[in-house]
């Protein structure tokens, strides 16, 4: 079996008519596509379809991200970045072989609104953001951006990023994530901060990302040694933690 993709006109036909088709996305399978459109919209790409089994066992679907990111990236690693940024490919996988997974992960049976469908089955945002929002391309691109071939455990950064669904948005949807020499030290600094007992919530992660952006206004980050980026982020995490402590102490005194 070959990996499917959608021809542009077929993909745009489904996208343009999502409001009419919305209820179909709650059905058990995708057979409605052929009935509604009067033809098979899936074409064969030149790649054999890899065998991938995705974890759908957890009642909290986003807890399956760590394992599923590795499964998808391992299986589809042969894709070039250019191929992997093609909406026709990912929408075919979402509408086709991974129909059940997308419903499970994004609770589509409960919420089959036009927005939810466009976001997770297609590219519902700008080109870059859509890579980490489409249900299947998100898994691949999370693996792609965090896979660290310099480490004996290449998925160590992936496991950190996927522990919280917000981290994928906050860390990977910024342009700084596109360069592993900037992303790697950033994530490692946050991991090291956590290992030193500094809590890193989603809000704290956003603070640190904003700080990285500020550094990007002063330096060409891609020209800085990784250690320098790491040390600045770690220092900032420590400063923010001290501030929080002081604020808590002041609150306690005032009580």
């Amino acid at each position: 079996m070959m990996m499917p993709f959608l021809k542009t006109d077929d993909m745009n036909t489904v996208k343009s008519n999502v409001s009419s088709f919305a209820d179909h996305f709650a059905e058990d399978d995708n057979t409605w596509l052929q009935k509604e459109l009067g033809r098979n919209i899936f074409s064969d790409s030149k790649f054999p379809m890899p065998q991938v089994l995705l974890d759908m066992s957890n009642d909290v679907p986003d807890k399956t991200d760590p394992v599923n990111v590795q499964a998808v990236y391992n299986a589809f690693q042969f894709l070039s970045d250019s191929q992997a940024s093609d909406e026709r490919l990912w929408s075919a996988l979402c509408l086709g072989p991974f129909w059940t997974y997308v419903q499970y992960r994004w609770k589509v049976r409960k919420n089959h609104s036009k927005e939810n469908i466009l976001q997770h089955y297609f590219f519902g945002f700008g080109a870059r953001r859509s890579l980490t929002r489409n249900a299947m391309s998100r898994l691949w691109w999370t693996g792609r951006l965090t896979y660290d071939k310099t480490d004996s455990d290449p998925y160590h950064l992936t496991r950190f990023v996927t522990q919280n669904a917000r981290f994928i948005v906050d860390i990977l949807e910024r342009n700084t994530a596109n360069n592993p020499e900037v992303l790697r030290p950033f994530i490692q600094a946050v991991i090291d901060a956590q290992n030193r007992g500094i809590p890193v919530s989603s809000e704290r992660m956003r603070d640190l990302e904003i700080y990285l952006d500020e550094l990007g206004g002063i330096y060409i980050l891609d020209c800085l040694p990784e250690q320098k980026i790491h040390d600045r982020i770690l220092k900032k995490a420590e400063e923010l933690a001290k501030k929080d402590e002081k604020a808590t102490d002041t609150e306690d005194i005032n009580k």
Partner: protein, 295 residues
Amino acid sequence: MDIRYKMYPYPVLAYFLDDYKDKHAFDVKITQVKDGFNTKLVFEATLTNKELLGLVRSGKSLFVYHLECSQTGFRKVIRTDRFSLSYVLSNREVKGSVQICPFIVATEDITSYSSTDFDDDYKGMTFDIEEGCVLAVGQQVNADVSDSIDDLANTPSIFSIVQNTDEAIKEMKVDGNGDKIVIQLPFNDYYSYKSMSQNPKFEPVLNALTIVPALVFVIEEMKRWDSEEMNRREIDCGWFRSIKHVLSKEFNCDVESDLSGMDSMELAQKLIGSPLPSAFAELSGGEGTEGGSVV
């Protein structure tokens, strides 16, 4: 990365700043050449500022070309002390538009930097520059690495013609938010379109009915966009890159400065090769008619 017209806490040589007397002392000519399926970028730097030249020659700073393709997440810096350089962008790594920003960047901490060409405001002052900081900024270039469209009139691949499955809707809809301009035809009309499009003689008729109004629609939208929206569309919309290129090359029209003064209806027809005469000729049996009263 987009070069933003920003200020720095120390003098930077840039065409948009007055920190140096000769603000054009650093420039980089960037050309792109097809290299099979790939794109070769050729960089030719010119630098006439004495002090910055000294820093590059001594290795304390380098020319840095920051490349970024938002569509594929490609981001890379090329660091060199050479004035001429070429680099091949693989089609496996990039798609659509690649932003290229040239800089001169400090490669180590530089203490007491000064230039005889500083603006008078900074005369006699020295500055400590950290490793990684920008010393000079060149003009940004956005390289289009998508498949080129030579002629919008022939099988325009910037359009995607699809069917509206809601049979109650009898009007054509146009959506320019994606990579292609989506023209959604009413349910039955789509079948007529598909049937007629098999015959090349009906192309001008179909273009007049569908492509011309769609182009009028998107041109009117483009006239309303500010620079930020244009930059976003440059990244996200392949059709916009194509139209921008054709307008610049064939109509000498810059979308940011010249488009508002152009007649959208006239421009839309010209972009598609003015199909009306051929369409009417076809519909009237190939001879055309002249004169007669209109009431």
